[in-house]
């Protein structure tokens, strides 16, 4: 009798189990709840996994995903990866001011590397207006850096100094220039907008703080993101800023050989081929660089900016004859992600990959580069 009872219970239990899920345990466990809840609808969907999985309680899922993890700085292997972390750290509206890259021009240029050229005496250093720089890299001017990190420009300058790299400070910095200069161990340049009425006053303060070069931005208005003022209108302003100034002047925002000539006529000792980070639409600075270098490269220093993200990108600009490259967004990604240490990491990563690719292309220094080392490919019609 008793045996029979046990088998009866077992039989009923198996029946229930068959209904509810895999085996008897299913009666007590998530199997049954799956039948009651999403299990039924889950024939094709997540119900099934709820039965088989080791039980993600439904309550947990409903609470939403956990906050994303900020990877240790050590895990990032190239400058582009800092953008993801910056995005993680910043409000969307702030991140949008430093988001993205335009890589198309870089992807149309391949190298022609030469073998069996010894490069053990690798030397990337470059002389800019009498100052020796470790590598042909400068931190470009970016306004209001406190929006990216609590320490703002102070962290940028500390990180850049640790990476032995000069910084161009924007006149619209969120920290006074004197405080920034107090933290700097590498040359500081100062950047003003030609369209800014108080530019000359700002320049005087920067000179007092020890800035070595004045960079005047033309062709872009004070409202970042808009290109309203025309370049020719800015030349008069440049002339006003230049009056009685001893420091070298660099004009930033030149995109044509004509403007490069005009910059020389204004007494500039250098230009930055730039479309203000893509704010001004049209061709990429890298695409117009060669023609500008051909015209004015022998007379003045030609710098360039615009979506430089990899060591190979910088090498391409140097092959075309640029003396140095300005990095803005990648440095801000580093700043937003990890403060001064992030700035240092981004710059050092680029120095290292640049150095490595000098070895790969067979050039021990900037002087050994020549245009036969690249091939520019036409845009491929699809």
């Amino acid at each position: 009798m008793s045996n029979l009872k046990v088998s009866r219970r077992e039989a009923l239990g198996s029946v229930a189990g068959l209904i509810a899920g895999p085996g008897l345990s299913g009666v007590e466990g998530p199997g049954l709840s799956a039948v009651e809840g999403p299990g039924l609808s889950g024939v094709e969907g997540p119900g099934l996994s709820a039965v088989e999985g080791p039980s993600l309680a439904r309550g947990q899922v409903a609470k939403g995903t956990p906050p994303p993890r900020r990877p240790p700085r050590d895990e990032l292997v190239n400058a582009l990866e800092f953008e993801d972390v910056a995005k993680l750290m910043l409000p969307a509206a702030v991140y949008s001011t430093i988001a993205g890259s335009d890589r198309a021009a870089f992807d149309r240029i391949t190298f022609r590397p030469r073998m069996l050229v010894p490069t053990l005496d690798l030397d990337l250093s470059v002389d800019l207006f009498g100052e020796k720089h470790l590598a042909p890299i400068l931190v470009g001017p970016v306004a209001e850096q406190r929006q990216y990190h609590a320490e703002g420009e102070l962290a940028t300058v500390r990180g850049a100094s640790a990476a032995k790299t000069g910084v161009i400070v924007s006149s619209r910095s969120s920290v006074p220039i004197a405080e920034i200069a107090a933290q700097a161990k590498t040359p500081l340049w100062y950047s003003v907008y030609a369209a800014d009425a108080s530019a000359r006053k700002q320049v005087d303060q920067a000179i007092a703080a020890g800035c070595k070069v004045v960079c005047v931005t033309v062709g872009a208005s004070l409202d970042a993101g808009r290109a309203t003022s025309k370049v020719p209108a800015d030349w008069k302003a440049v002339d006003r800023i230049r009056q009685g100034l001893d420091l070298p002047i660099v004009i930033k925002g030149v995109m044509t050989p004509e403007d490069a000539n005009a910059a020389i006529a204004q007494g500039a000792r250098g230009i930055v081929v730039s479309n203000h980070g893509g704010v001004v639409a049209g061709r990429a600075p890298l695409e117009v660089l060669a023609s500008i270098v051909d015209l004015v490269g022998a007379k003045i220093t030609v710098l360039v900016d615009g979506s430089f993200r990899r060591g190979t990108d910088i090498l391409k600009a140097l092959v075309f004859g640029a003396q140095a490259v300005l990095l803005a967004r990648p440095v801000m990604w580093g700043l937003a992600a990890y403060g001064a240490e992030g700035v240092q990491s981004v710059i050092e990563l680029l120095q290292t990959t640049l150095g490595r690719n000098f070895g790969m292309i067979g050039a021990p220094n900037l002087k050994s580069l020549n245009r036969a080392m690249v091939k520019v490919h036409a845009e491929r019609k699809t």
């Binding site: 190239n78 391949t110 073998m115 005496d121």
Partner: protein
Amino acid sequence: MGTIDNRWRHGPTRRQALLALAGMLAGSPLLRAQRDPHPITGHKRVPGLDEMMTAFDFEPICFANVVLARYEYMARASESEFTLRRNREAFEWVDLVERPGAATAALQTSTEVLGIKMDFPIMIAPTAAQRDLHPDAESAMYQGASAAKTPMIVVGRSTIPIEKIAQAATGPRWSQFYPVQDLKISRETIETFQAAGARALVVTVDQQTDTGYERDLHNRNLGGTPRGASGGRGGGAPEQGRGGRGGGSAAPAPMQGPALYRVIPARLWYTWKYLDDIRAFTKIPILLKGILTAEDAKLCVERGFDGVIVSNHGGRSMDYGPSTLEVLPEIVDAVGGKIPVLIDGGFRRGSDIVKAMALGASAVCLGRAPRWGLGAFGPQGVQRLLEILQAEFLEAMARTGRTTLAALDRRAVRVNFT
């Protein structure tokens, strides 16, 4: 309870009724809802060698057979891997010009390169760490290659001694060699290769420094290359044992040359003079592997070398370097037929090989593809993969209407390089 009730409660009839109920419930949609309609255990299996139809089919099997980090070791390339991708893309920029008039049976595909006769213009390129793929490593590769009558270039730093590999099979064999600054060691190594029966020496001249394998750096916590071994990390030159990037004053960095930029000096010492020096160490032909420009190819000819291999190390040398196929014509023109021009880089189909032959290559070397064969099915996998490519080569060549390799000229392809 009466007798009839008791009989019902304990009798077989009731049991039958319960069974029927159970049967009904067992067939209910509720139960089906709990069952995986396609349980993975029901259809999980490894495809067999006889199911391999293209070279690509071997890769997932090889992937499944080896540890992830060792698979990545061969799959990866430099930095952004632009050149790795471009190697494959370039085949899409070259079309075969079809012409009737050649049956596959009538095709003459045999050729001779530096004294080695081969049925097809196909060779095995030298690749490192073949023991990751098969316990018999280079010996297994050699057996598979010889079975498919394909000459093999044995990697210099093989995981099995060259003398032992030499006994594994009988097919023609070259040896690869990485320059070593010490000329005495260079001479000894080259003499060892020659004594073991190498019929030519392939000197790798590219990949001058560490190549910044970003995949490795990402995988370094998954049993990949230990931190620093692949270098390329901003900050802290690995040999200095610095823990992290950008530690500032953590170690006194030597203030000159590559170390100033945390670049590993590795092979930055390479010179043409060294190549001239080792040229005298052996009488067998010497080919330089890693040539990507007409200028360097001309230097090879001028300095008396016997062949060039157009190679970007499978995308593992300079990132944003060219694909090998797009620079092949300029190198073939520069050499002007004086020495053979071989090529490697992304060859996966018979038609890829036909395209390179039409653009003037003397033969094509395969790196990753036979590794997939070896990792997937051992020597038989290598043999089968090569036979698939040979059959594809015949089909593609027949489509061009050419019956001999000599007739396979540039008019057999339409080139759309930019």
